[in-house]
């Protein structure tokens, strides 16, 4: 770790020429999504004759990850939503040149003393605040849908899409992931995809920023049940707001092993919160399509994680665990949505 600390100090010094004596310590790798290596560290320096320090986060690209994503888009999303009604941590520097730390990365400000783990959400003191957390979780998602991507400055960074093409672009992509990466045949997902192509959803009510992985586990919360930051924007893109909402309802996020979505509240309650906050309608047939899409996308992620591990691109155990633990649940979720699980 010492060399990475020194490399980080050199890099940060180059970004803060007004500071002197930049030092990095307390470097520690933490869990922070499966697509980037995440570290927390402290940077200390002198500025205007005063000693200063900040707690920062490093997000560095690995050789292969659970999700192939563009760090530029993730960085742009954090920057765009900073100081909006959508809480996110501040990001500071994006670096594509691998010579500094061995691979591209970005650095942001750490929000300290908070939780992300879905398992902690089911324990006290957090379990007492499920309704409160749910209200914020789906209201913030509604706020993401309400934001204008052009005013956020994300049109251009994110690939544009017409309202009538949102579903096809996403389904084509994730079917392609299954085509290229599946290690075992997926008869349930293939049937779901055929059904989805025969029964496409209506055009998006509007094109908005889609977080891409909006779920319990990807936001920071405290002991009073307050959400402080939405994380892991690596799959963010422009699309149908129902894509995010359907993903957030995915059965694989039922962490309490019951019907509460995200381990928090029942599906109908989540729908009511999201509709009120977003000003949009979650029409039953359209939402069903996007929830079914979420199972295909989920299976695409678990399939590609298994593929990455087996081909040796990345031997992180999370790639195996997510595949083993969630693929069958994902199939069952698709069966339920197609009316075959009784």
């Amino acid at each position: 770790m010492a060399s990475l600390e020194a490399e980080l100090a050199t890099y940060i010094q180059s970004k803060m020429p007004e500071a002197t004596g930049v030092r990095v310590d307390r470097l520690e790798q933490i869990s922070g999504g499966a697509s980037r290596q995440t570290y927390r560290f402290r940077v200390s320096y002198q500025h205007e004759s005063a000693e200063r320090e900040r707690s920062l986060i490093l997000r560095r690209d690995p050789s292969a990850s659970l999700i192939d994503t563009d760090r530029r888009i993730e960085f742009a999303a954090y920057r765009a939503f900073f100081k909006t009604p959508v809480p996110v941590p501040e990001v500071l520097w994006l670096e594509d040149d691998p010579r500094h730390l061995g691979s591209p990365f970005f650095i942001g400000v750490e929000m300290r003393g908070l939780q992300t783990a879905p398992s902690m959400m089911q324990r006290e003191p957090y379990a007492a605040h499920h309704q409160k957390i749910a209200e914020q979780k789906w209201s913030i998602l509604g706020e993401i849908a309400k934001q204008d991507p052009a005013r956020l400055g994300l049109v251009g960074t994110m690939e544009p899409v017409k309202p009538e093409n949102c579903w096809k672009r996403e389904l084509d992509y994730w079917e392609g992931v299954l085509d290229s990466d599946e290690l075992i045949p997926q008869p349930i997902m293939r049937a779901a995809i055929r059904w989805m192509r025969r029964n496409p959803p209506p055009p998006a009510q509007k094109v908005s920023v889609v977080h891409g992985d909006y779920r319990t586990g990807n936001f920071l919360y405290d002991e009073q049940g307050r959400i402080h930051g939405i994380l892991d924007w690596e799959m963010s893109h422009l699309g149908d707001p129902l894509e995010d909402f359907g993903w957030s309802l995915n059965r694989v996020w039922c962490w309490a092993q019951d019907d509460r979505r995200g381990g928090l509240v029942l599906r109908d309650q989540a729908i009511a919160i999201w509709e009120k906050a977003s000003g949009l309608k979650a029409a039953p047939e359209a939402l069903q399509w996007w929830e079914l899409f979420a199972t295909v996308k989920g299976q695409g992620i678990w399939v590609s994680s298994a593929h990455a591990w087996e081909t040796g691109e990345n031997k992180d155990p999370i790639l195996v665990l997510s595949s083993w633990a969630l693929m069958n649940s994902q199939d069952r979720a698709a069966l339920e949505l197609m009316g075959h699980l009784r």
Binding site: Q29, S31, P185, P187, V252, Q257, W324, N328, D331, A333
Partner: protein
């Protein structure tokens, strides 16, 4: 192997969670050990059923193909289904059963995609049988720790 693999792996997973994780740092390594413990628990659950669930499913798929073949209009698929219906699981190693299962499930996808476009009550009956088998296939694979 005695003590049995199920019991041993279950205990190892428990020890990792209760004794090893609290004793190590940083938290990232705790998370890694936690994942390994979860995978050991899953292997423990899968160990005893691994061969039987695959053999059972392969037999059910062969029966399904035997029943569906007379209904299928596509001659190539009909012939392929009848050939697969005659196959057997002679090698009972999990890897061999899995390979047979994959071959059968590839054919199941082809059958499903063709029969759902075919008209008539016989085709609907086959389609219904496919869905029922797909539901059973997820029950066979289910883990007690699954979120759903």
């Amino acid at each position: 192997m005695r003590p049995g693999v199920q019991a041993v792996f279950q205990k190892m997973a428990q020890d990792l969670v209760e004794r090893v994780i609290p004793a190590i740092s940083p938290s990232y390594h705790q998370g890694t050990v936690g994942m390994i413990a979860a995978m050991l628990a899953m292997v423990s659950e899968e160990w005893d059923r691994a061969a039987s669930r695959r053999a059972e499913e392969n037999d059910r798929l062969r029966e399904l193909f035997r029943d569906a073949a007379p209904v299928v209009e596509n001659a190539d698929l009909k012939r392929r289904l009848l050939e697969l219906a005659k196959t057997q699981d002679r090698d009972l190693r999990v890897s061999a059963l899995e390979a047979n299962n994959c071959a059968l499930r590839v054919a199941l996808i082809d059958l499903h995609s063709k029969i759902e476009r075919q008209k008539g009550p016989a085709a609907r009956k086959v389609e219904d049988a496919i869905w029922k088998e797909l539901v059973r296939s997820t029950e066979r694979r289910r883990f007690s720790t699954a979120p759903f």
